[in-house]
């Protein structure tokens, strides 16, 4: 088990969180006040600074889930922490997918004239959202951590290999049905203004930092939750031992302090 899932180290995490916060704040300020209005779309295009980073993150998050699932499935790299990472990343992926769909829909209403369109990319994303919603439901189904990890890893992998098939079939279907003329404009956006480009880059960077920060926090929380039952049991045993050993036989107490051993097991 030479894998180290604890990058970044604990002391760096508050800085990471602060940097993410700063980045998001800077994106808000840049996106709302600094960049100029778009010639064609007016103010509506400012949603792009949330939409594009959210889209990038949701794909990144699902890719991380798939990778972590594979790493859990390979016996040589099997480690319960890959399962925590897969779960944490999928949760963030679902949240950012929802954000991307919501923001995209808000943007679509004034620009396309519709809240929703059966565009290939939109439809794929919607299916992706439900795929991972099911994955998260599966994770909550109980059982031992090893059972959950095994089930989730296989589900995470099977969901991921479905993504290209869904995308391919939907693209095919959409192009057979309708010319995506209006919708393709969105994919062929040419951003000429430097401040717009910078804001977009800033947004992507800020959201990525946010993802890394939230993901590490969530992994740690999952690990602590998992260890909680064990630690409570340990504490109860110790209490019982202490009570029965009131005569002074302190040697019957566990040699290691349960709180420190749990912390090292979690590897914080």
């Amino acid at each position: 088990m030479s894998v180290d899932l604890h990058m970044p180290p604990r002391r760096a995490r508050p800085f990471l969180g602060f940097a993410a916060l700063l980045g998001v704040a800077a994106t808000v300020v840049m996106g709302l006040f600094v960049v100029p209005k778009d010639v064609a779309q007016g103010d509506a295009y400012r949603l792009l600074f949330v939409h594009v980073p959210a889209a990038w993150l949701s794909y990144l998050a699902f890719a991380v889930t798939a990778l972590a699932s594979v790493l859990y499935l390979v016996p040589r790299t099997r480690d319960i922490r890959w399962d925590y990472l897969a779960g944490a990343s999928a949760e963030l992926g679902v949240i950012f997918t929802a954000l991307m769909l919501a923001v995209g829909s808000l943007w679509g209403r004034p620009i396309w004239g519709a809240w929703w369109a059966w565009d290939a990319r939109l439809t794929t994303t919607a299916i992706l959202f439900f795929l991972y919603l099911g994955y998260l439901a599966l994770r909550r189904m109980g059982g031992s951590p090893e059972q959950r990890a095994m089930r989730s890893a296989i589900a995470g992998l099977t969901a991921f290999i479905d993504v290209p098939i869904v995308h391919f079939s939907v693209t095919w279907w959409a192009t057979l049905h309708q010319d995506g003329s209006v919708f393709n404009e969105k994919m062929q956006v040419h951003i000429r203004d430097t401040s717009m480009q910078l804001t977009l880059l800033l947004g992507v960077a800020a959201f990525t930092l946010l993802y890394v920060y939230l993901c590490t926090q969530r992994v740690q929380l999952l690990a602590l939750e998992e260890g909680m039952a064990e630690r409570e049991l340990q504490a109860a045993i110790e209490e019982r031992v202490a009570r029965s050993g009131a005569t002074g036989t302190a040697s019957s107490a566990p040699t290691t302090d349960p709180s420190t051993s749990a912390t090292t097991a979690v590897g914080v």
């Binding site: 299916i127 439900f130 795929l131 919603l133 099911g134 994955y135 439901a137 599966l138 189904m141 109980g142 059982g143 090893e146 059972q147 095994m150 089930r151 296989i154 589900a155 992998l157 099977t158 969901a159 290999i161 479905d162 098939i165 869904v166 391919f168 079939s169 939907v170 095919w172 279907w173 057979l176």
Partner: protein
């Protein structure tokens, strides 16, 4: 290899025999499928002449819904009376068990599809062209649905909430199957069989992919999940 096929056949025959005796598929799932088709006709008002155009989609939605029930049955027979432990201790290969169970679901669904197709012809006034395309589409799509259903069914088999979890898992995964099978049927039924081939290939790829995943992973899932 021969041993594998023999094992698979054993599970296949066992599942079908249970179904024939319990009559759940015949007496409940098949009527459910036909009922759904009827309800679709009510909802869409047959007089409008819209039904022939949407018939392929309705057909596959119906099959997909029925498949959820069939998968539920397939898992339920293993979870009662410790049958699952029996299966684990039987020494049968995990992949063979998977193939057998998928085979049984495919057989059940194909029976339903034949009936539905007759129902579709009667109810919807669609002409029967491109029988070959229809058959291949039905085989590939049903194999894909049964394979994903069995994988996710066994994944969720330990859960108290299995009945609600399986549809949430299976329906998004099989979205491409619904799309591809509907399109292929549409082409075949409207006499443009040539357009169906890309979709049939897509369905074949999907089925092959999930049959492989299930074949490889099923043993581990039966053991650990």
């Amino acid at each position: 290899m021969m041993q594998l096929l023999r094992d698979a056949r054993l599970v296949f025959v066992k599942d079908l025999r249970i179904e024939l005796r319990a009559r759940i598929v015949i007496a409940q799932i098949v009527p459910f499928g036909v009922l759904v088709l009827l309800l679709f006709a009510f909802a869409l008002d047959p007089r409008r002449g819209m039904l022939p155009t949407v018939a392929p989609g309705l057909f596959w939605i119906t099959v997909l819904l029925a498949s959820i029930l069939a998968v539920g049955r397939s898992i339920a027979v293993e979870s009662e009376h410790g049958a699952r432990d029996g299966l684990r201790l039987s020494g049968l290969d995990g992949g063979a068990i998977f193939v057998g169970k998928v085979g049984a679901i495919v057989a059940e669904l194909l029976a339903l599809e034949v009936l539905l197709l007759l129902g579709t012809f009667v109810l919807y006034d669609v002409s029967a062209d491109g029988i070959l395309v229809l058959t291949l589409t039905a085989l590939a799509a049903t194999a894909g649905i049964a394979a994903t259903g069995t994988v996710y069914g066994v994944l969720a088999s330990g859960a108290k909430v299995r009945e609600t979890l399986v549809p949430l898992l299976v329906l998004p995964i099989t979205a491409p199957v619904l799309l591809g099978a509907s399109k292929a049927f549409e082409s075949a039924l409207s006499g443009r069989s040539g357009e169906a081939w890309p979709w049939v290939q897509l369905l074949g790829v999907f089925a092959a992919l999930y049959l492989t995943v299930g074949f490889v992973a099923f043993g581990a899932l039966l053991e650990e999940a």
